[in-house]
């Protein structure tokens, strides 16, 4: 039971009325309230200013740096375009999703359908642990195991697997949450009509939960596009388009261009950095907006 702190004035015990002391207290409380709201508004204001500043910087310098060459040419040293980086980002995003979606949705399905089993509890616990692991640790893991020890070198395979592992817990969690929203009656009716576990899962539960699952997938895709540190050590960097090989072929990606080129004392490199920042931020915001409208529309 919470203790409600009431603004009870002891002088009103045994009678009330608007004596001057009470009025003064009321005015003080109101003043404190105004200051309080002011501070809260200030907090929101500060946050908004910072947010607008970041977005304006990226969009203003990014748009002025966008030329058709960015989309038609590959990077040449510190100049050229970003076609290789755009292609690489999309390849890594799609590749990691191809790995993470079946495995993540599967994990989410299992946890939601069989939540009473010890296996489901273990998966949920370890999924939370995986979320807590910083992305650079995953990059380190990918670098030593896949790039060095397995001998794949900088490659799409190493990058996609590493980012896929990164995204797994997000897809798993959102699938689980979406499936939990599906009314039990629906599943019970299916079972009653003689459907097996598989049919209930794939033809009843999952389709009903699809908007939530898709939202989770979209948000994971946005995360995979925005990653940098793990990719530095798994995808490497390439000034050219993908050679088609899954191993022994480094890839370019947009976030590298941001990080590596902003420091260069050459204007062409800085322009590439801002253009890449604009493209990545724009894509991520677009996906986030799409995900949230999908979720709210259901």
């Amino acid at each position: 039971m919470q203790r409600v702190v009431a603004a009870r004035d002891p002088s009103t015990i045994g009678g009330s009325g608007w004596n001057p002391a009470r009025l003064a207290r009321l005015r003080r409380r109101r003043a404190r309230g105004i200051i309080g709201w002011g501070l809260c508004g200030l907090a929101l204001g500060l946050l908004s200013v910072a947010m607008l500043w970041i977005l304006l910087l990226v969009f203003w310098r990014g748009i002025t740096a966008l030329r058709p060459e960015i989309f038609t040419h590959v990077t040449q040293g510190t100049g050229g375009g970003l076609l290789n980086a755009i292609e690489g980002t999309l390849l890594i995003g799609v590749g990691s999703m191809l790995l993470a979606i079946p495995l993540g949705v599967g994990a989410g399905l299992y946890i939601a359908l069989f939540s009473y089993t010890w296996w489901a509890k273990t998966i949920r616990f370890l999924s939370d642990v995986l979320v807590g692991v910083p992305s650079i640790v995953l990059g380190y893991f990918g670098y030593i195991t896949m790039v060095e020890l397995a001998g794949w070198g900088f490659s799409l395979a190493a990058a996609a697997i590493t980012i896929g592992i990164l995204c797994l817990p997000y897809i798993c969690r959102s699938t689980e949450l979406a499936l939990l929203q599906v009314p039990n009656a629906l599943k019970e009716a299916a079972y009653a009509l003689g459907a097996g576990d598989g049919r209930v899962a794939f033809q009843i539960a999952l389709p009903a939960a699809l908007p939530g699952v898709l939202t989770g997938i979209l948000l994971a895709f946005a995360i995979s596009i925005g990653e940098t540190a793990p990719l530095i050590y798994t995808a490497g960097w390439s000034d050219y388009l993908w050679t088609g090989k899954f191993t022994h072929a480094p890839l370019g990606y947009l976030t590298y261009a941001i990080w590596a080129f902003i420091n260069e004392p050459f204007a062409s490199a800085n322009a590439l950095a801002y253009a890449a920042a604009f493209l990545v931020t724009f894509m991520v915001l677009l996906i986030s907006i799409a995900a949230r409208t999908a979720m709210s529309r259901r």
Binding site: Q76, E87, D239, W242, N263
Partner: protein
């Protein structure tokens, strides 16, 4: 949409995506991709070489990356990169562990010591090895310290703490700079010695930067700071109106970096170059010699994993050292490098010949 149609749409989207990815790769069967990574000092030169070479040899795709000599060495040794650009040659311990590594000199470069002092950036302060060692050790704390004033009697030095900027990444610039400090200051040699990655003494407010580019950003952004920066960024330094110090050479004279002083130093040191290319060119004798010069190396594994990469590497590196190829004045002047003398060029050519792909018969 019915469930089945949704499935078809999903499969269709995935198929289209893969198809696009495949179609976007314009790889021809005989395209060779090489990765050059490492020295930020050598990076501007590689960015001049690669477009010129690729235009003449369309099937060759070389990616350039500025990651620091330490990374160049590491990735060349582990085979992740075919060319490890490095201002530093490999250590004895490394050569013993990886005897198949080649240190191929490509050109001769040098290093500046730059500073950012309001009003004094045009004045070319005189600095010596022991003074710089003292600054980076934190023993010389302010600009108007007696040791600096002694070298610059006519300059009004400000009373302000010195902000030292050093490289955090494994850096060939750190290697040659610390060699300059080690060979002139026994105190530094005993405590710290030289290397691409060293344990920098804790000077107050010391900033770590990544790459020569980061050094320039940090120098530009901090007044009263000092940094060591490779010669290929000389134009960037001049554009930002930052100062360059005149360094004390072996003969006790204070010289600025220029084609003349670097040539003088190179001429007096090249006879010392051993067959494997690994030698320090610091403190070349001569009144006019610039003290901090070095060979720019391509660290290459002599046993490459495939024959096509090996032959492309050999062709490219041979072009790079040729006086009418990469070593011509039109390239080197843009980065203030000096061409390889003829006898060193022969040495490099011999080393380049040792590169083979697996399956080739061993040569020599």
């Amino acid at each position: 949409m019915s469930i089945n149609r949704r499935r078809f749409v999903a499969v269709g989207i995935i198929a289209a995506g893969l198809g696009l990815a495949g179609a976007a790769a314009p790889a021809r069967a005989d395209d060779v991709t090489l990765l050059e990574t490492g020295s930020s000092l050598l990076y501007p030169l590689f960015n001049l070489w690669v477009p010129a070479y690729s235009q003449a040899h369309p099937g060759v795709k070389i990616t350039t990356q500025s990651t620091g000599s330490g990374t160049g060495i590491s990735e060349a040794v582990s085979g992740l990169a075919q060319i490890g650009a490095s201002d530093a040659y490999l250590a004895d311990a490394m050569m013993k562990q990886h005897p198949d590594m080649l240190n191929i000199p490509l050109a001769i470069s040098s290093q500046m010591v730059n500073y950012n002092l309001p009003g004094l950036n045009g004045d070319h302060l005189k600095l010596s090895g022991p003074v710089l060692a003292g600054i980076y050790q934190g023993k010389i704390k302010t600009w108007n310290d007696a040791a600096i004033a002694k070298l610059n009697p006519s300059v009004k030095l400000p009373d302000h703490p010195i902000i030292t900027i050093h490289r955090t990444d494994g850096s060939g610039d750190t290697f040659i700079f610390t060699q300059y400090l080690s060979f002139s200051t026994p105190d530094w040699m005993n405590d710290i010695a030289y290397g691409t990655t060293i344990s920098w003494p804790a000077a107050p407010g010391a900033i770590g930067a990544t790459g020569n580019q980061g050094m320039i950003s940090a120098l530009k952004g901090n007044e009263y700071s000092i940094a060591y920066i490779g010669i290929s960024f000389k134009k960037a330094i001049e554009d930002e109106k930052l100062g360059e110090a005149a360094l004390e050479n072996k003969a006790g004279k204070f010289v600025l970096s220029s084609a003349r002083t670097v040539q003088a130093a190179a001429a007096s040191k090249i006879t010392d170059t051993p067959k494997d290319g690994r030698v320090s060119l610091i403190f070349a004798p001569g009144d006019d010699s610039y003290p901090i010069i070095n060979y720019e190396y391509a660290i290459v594994k002599s046993r490459q994993s495939n024959a096509a990469a090996a032959s492309t590497l050999k062709a490219f590196l041979s072009w790079a050292i040729a006086p009418d190829g990469g070593n011509q004045a039109s390239f080197l002047d843009q980065v203030s490098f000096v061409a390889l003398p003829e006898q060193v060029r022969q040495l490099s050519a011999t080393l380049i010949n040792q590169i083979q792909g697996s399956g080739d018969e061993a040569r020599q």
